[in-house]
Every structure is written in C-alpha cells, then in structure tokens.
Amino acid sequence: MLDGILTGLTAVLTPGNLLLVVGGCFAGTIIGMLPGLGPITAIALMIPLSYAFEPTSGMIMMAGVYYGAVFGGSTSSILINAPGVAGTVATAFDGYPLARQGQAAKALAIAAYASFTGGTVGALLLLLAASSLAALAFTFQSAEYFALMLLGLTSVAAFAGRGQVLTAIASTVVGVMLSTVGTDRASGVERFTFGRLDLVDGIGFVLLAMATFALAEALVLLLSPRDEAPARVTRAAWRLSKAELIELAPVVGRSSVLGFLVGVLPGAGATIASFLSYGLERNLAPAQERQRFGHGSLRGLAAPEAANNAACSGSFLPLLTLGIPGSGTTAVLLGVLLAYGIQPGPRLLETEPEVFWGLIVSMYVGNIVLLVLNLPLIPYLAKLLDLPRTALVPLVLFLGMTGVYLISFNVFDIYLMTFFALAAFTLRWLQFPMAPMLLGFILGGMLEENLRRALLVAGDSYTFLWDRPVTLALLIITAAILAFPSVRELIGRLRHS
C-alpha cells in the first residue's frame, strides 16, 4: 500500500497536475454554485477538456471538478437556500438559517472545514480499506437496499419539531407520492402523467428542490420587501472559536465515517449519507441543542457537509474496484475512463496503478486545494447576501428558472416549478415542514424499485424481510429509531412522576 501511495504522490505532485487540481476545483466550485448545475453537469462539461491530457492527469482534474462542484452546491444552499443537488439539501436546513442570522461567513467556513475533514477521512479510508470494503458492498442486494432506504426515511424524525411528528410524516408521504409521477421503471407503465410527454420522465429533483426551497423562500421575502440591515462580514466573522471546534470535532468525525460507509454502497451515495448523519447528530445532541436543529445549528450544518464529502470518496470505491458506478456522477466518470480505454474493476490496481493511486491521492490534494482556495473567498461570497432584497428576490427567481430550463430545455418545467413554488409557499405559510417531503421524493423511487426487485428475487414473498440478516438488522435499527423519541418521552415522564 505504501508503494501505491508513493505512486499516487509521484503522479499528483507534479506542477502540471497540481495546476489541473487547482483549475478543476475552481471550475467545479463556480459551476456547482450555479443553480441547476451540479457535479454531473460540471464533469460532463469538462469531458472534452480532459481528453487533451493523459489519463492520469485527466482523471486528477475530474476529481478536482467533482469536489469543487459539491462544495459549490453547498455554497448556494447556504447563501440562497438553493440546493442544486440532492446531496446538499441537508446543508440548507441549518446553513441557510445561519446565513439569515448574519452568520453566512461562519456557515461557509464550517462547510469548508467539514467538507475538508469529510473528504480527507474518506480518502484515507479509501486508501486503507479499498479491497475489504469492496467485498462488503458486493453483499448488498435489493432487500438490503430497501431496508437502507427505509432507514434513510426514518431520519424524518430529525426534522420533526415538538408536536410536528404528524405533519413531518405527512410531508414524507407527499414526497413519496410525487416520486411516483412518471414512468414506473419496473413495469414501464406511465403513472400520473395525464397523457403529457413532459411528465413521462417524472418530476425533476432540481425542479422540486428549487421550487420548495429557493423559490418559495424568495416568495416569502417578497411579502416584506424592506431590507434588514446586513451583517458586516469581517475577517474574524468566519473564524471558529476553540469551544466551537471542540464541539464540532466529534460530529465531523462520526459523520465522515458514516458518510464514507454509506457512500461505498452503490446507489446510496451522498444524499442518504447526509440525511442519515443529520438525523444521527440530532438524536445524539443534548436536548437544548436539538431544538436548534433547523434553526441554525452548527452541528446540523457540519454533519451533512462532512458526510456528503466522505460519501463522494466512498462512491469511488465500487467504481474503481468493481467497475460499478455508485452514483450518477461516478457513472459519468466511468464513461470518461472507458473513453481513455481503461476498464475499472478488480484488475485496475494491477493494470493502471498510476490512475488508481493518482486518483485517490488527488482526492486528498483536491481537498487541501479546495480549503486553501475557498477560505479567502468566504467574505466575498458572503457579500452576496448584502444585495438589497429588491434585487435579490428577482435574481433568485431568475437563476432558479434558468437553472431548471438548462436541465431539460423545456419551458413546461418552468410552469411546473412556478406551480410547485406557489404550493410550497402556501404549505410554508401553514408551517408544513418541506424537508421531509424532499427526502421522501428522493428516496421514494429507490425504495419502490428495490422492494419490487427484492420481491421478484424472493418469488413474490415478503420472507426476505426476516430471512436476510443484514436486512433484518437494518429494519430493527429503523424500528428502534422510530420508537426512540416515544421511549425517551416515556422514560422522562416516569422519572418526573
């Protein structure tokens, strides 16, 4: 392994490749910040450029673009509540409230530090445990994925404030219902399309996320166009105190390991990792801190940020060792590797050690570059919030509509987004939690698909739920998480009485 690391370092630490990592991170950050353009688009846009370089250099640049785009997505989530990709939705839950409270610089700094730690831990774990974890990922089948999706949905408990459990569950159900719109991938049958071709592919994630978060927020701001005095962003504003660092260190550590392990599983990826870590940290937090989740908790921001970056490193594992892309982004990267004539899989380590180790080391270097590049930019990025509300509202709406149009080049999506923005505005007015809806929407499709596949394998019998030990264990954890708040309340009552 030491030889491998040295090979990777030799490949990456050349002036040309370092420049490519810096360029990739910068381009990725800029593209990721644009609403509607996530890591997949960023990598796809850079493909033609990557062919100008040899495979190792091209892949090193792509890793930089990937990390940069993930961080750029977090920036737009924090500053304008516009998560461009599913993996950064959880970042907005506490990042945006922090920005609204005049702590945008601190929120961006926490995101940068947590991303750096998550990415670094992920890269180190990838170095240490590549082969053994690849075998573990292989044991996961549809039944386990179904149980994992259910476990992911239980993090809905994390979004339910006092007396909001019913509305949070209802919101999750609405999200799963929206995920059923479009062609049923298992049978090819159209559902809820009303004969419209525009709906055959279902409702786009970016469309729904933009409408329910960024656009609905802009519409809320529209009701009170008077500006609040913007908080001055100073150099000290993004520094973290020693107490904050001590508080956040274990959160980031736990989330990084959890994120990496979830990221290793093909199909699970950064989204489930970020939601799970958010839910875990909320449950572990002391009662007083728990109340701050969703209203600007530093833990609530650091956890999903560390987890989604660690999951990005984890998602490379099935790609490099098994040749299976674990996410949409790694699928595009697989295409890039194949175009170079490189076949990822168990033999990649022997046939192309430079590419394998170069990519892993470049992830670590990319994280350092990202931190060095973004920390000085924080005061300038946070200045975005100083824009007067009279300009901010139309700009957010315009960027949201343009972003959604750029994905499908279909104006129907703008109409649909306007409708969802109005619906989300109404629901927010009624204090209906929107985050569980998005969670239900993201996981709903995967949940149904895996359940049907598991049933098919088990011959239309539900016995797989208790026959497979990992599935059973995941289901027990799910039940325990659901029962935990009630049990805690019961114990509290018993103690009081």
Binding site: I30, V173, E190, P225, L397, W429
Partner: protein, 175 residues
Amino acid sequence: MKANLLRRSVRRNSPGWRISGQEQIEVDRNRVLAILLIGFAAAYGFAIDDIVLDLWAEEEALNSRTLPMILCGGLIVLALTLLVKGSGERVQPIAWRSLARLGAMLAFMVLFALVLELAGFWIAGAAFLASGLLLMGERRASRLVGVPTITIGIAWLLLRVVLDVYLPAGELWMG
C-alpha cells in the same frame, strides 16, 4: 356585548372564520392543512384509476398501483388525524397588498416561460428582472437597466461563451 360574545365563541370553536375590523380571517392551521392534504390525496386517488396495468400485473404482490394506493390511504388517515386534532394555532393573516404582489410575481414567471423561446434569453430575462425590480419597489433607472444588463451579460458569458451551453436566441429574430 352580544357581538363580542359571539366573536369569542367562534374563536374558541376553531376552525371558525372570524371577520375582524381589518377584514382578516382566522382559522386553525392544521385544519386548513388537513383539508388541502385531503384534496391532494383525493385527486391523486382518482388518478390511480388511470394507471393501466399489464395483464399479469394484478397477480403480483406489488404492482404499479399498490404503492400509490397505500400512500393515498396513508395520507388520508394522517390528514383526518390532523383535522380532528387541530393545532390550537391560527393561520397568520397575509395583507391583500402582499398577495397581489405575490400574484404579480408568479404572473411574471409564467410570462418569462411563455416568451423565453420566442423572444430569447436576453429579452425575456431582462424583462423579467426589470419587472421584478419594479415590483419590489425599485424606481432608480440606473438599477432598473443596470441589474438586468449585468446579470444577463454575466450569465450569457459564463453559460454560452465559456461553457458552451445552449441558450435560446429567440425564434422571432432567428426566422
């Protein structure tokens, strides 16, 4: 006195509609939510009938209609629970003027979508931004012209020139 008593009794028995001196309507938050959810679930439930199943699908343990039916039933149960329990909190009233501004902005968004491919990204975008600024109370000509021009210019440069992403130039001008 009698009117005051009546008003108090209506307030206690939410969801009650209270017309105050300022013409505001007060209702229980969760009950309004429940009615909206039941409406959504009903529309969704009716649309389940339109899902055309394959011949053998009805014998499957889980077909294309199963999950939608479970979800629809689940949402109705949850909504009914919300309707019965209520929240004890009232909906915050919104001023008519704010609602009018909201309606106008939504109309601008629809107009943007209508003219985007016809008039092109430059004109549709600039018109939307200028109208939005006007609606938000901006009256300075420099900003009404400057903000749309700079925003569209940067977006065009970044998307069209640097990243080579397609942006509609306008069917009206392209022939």
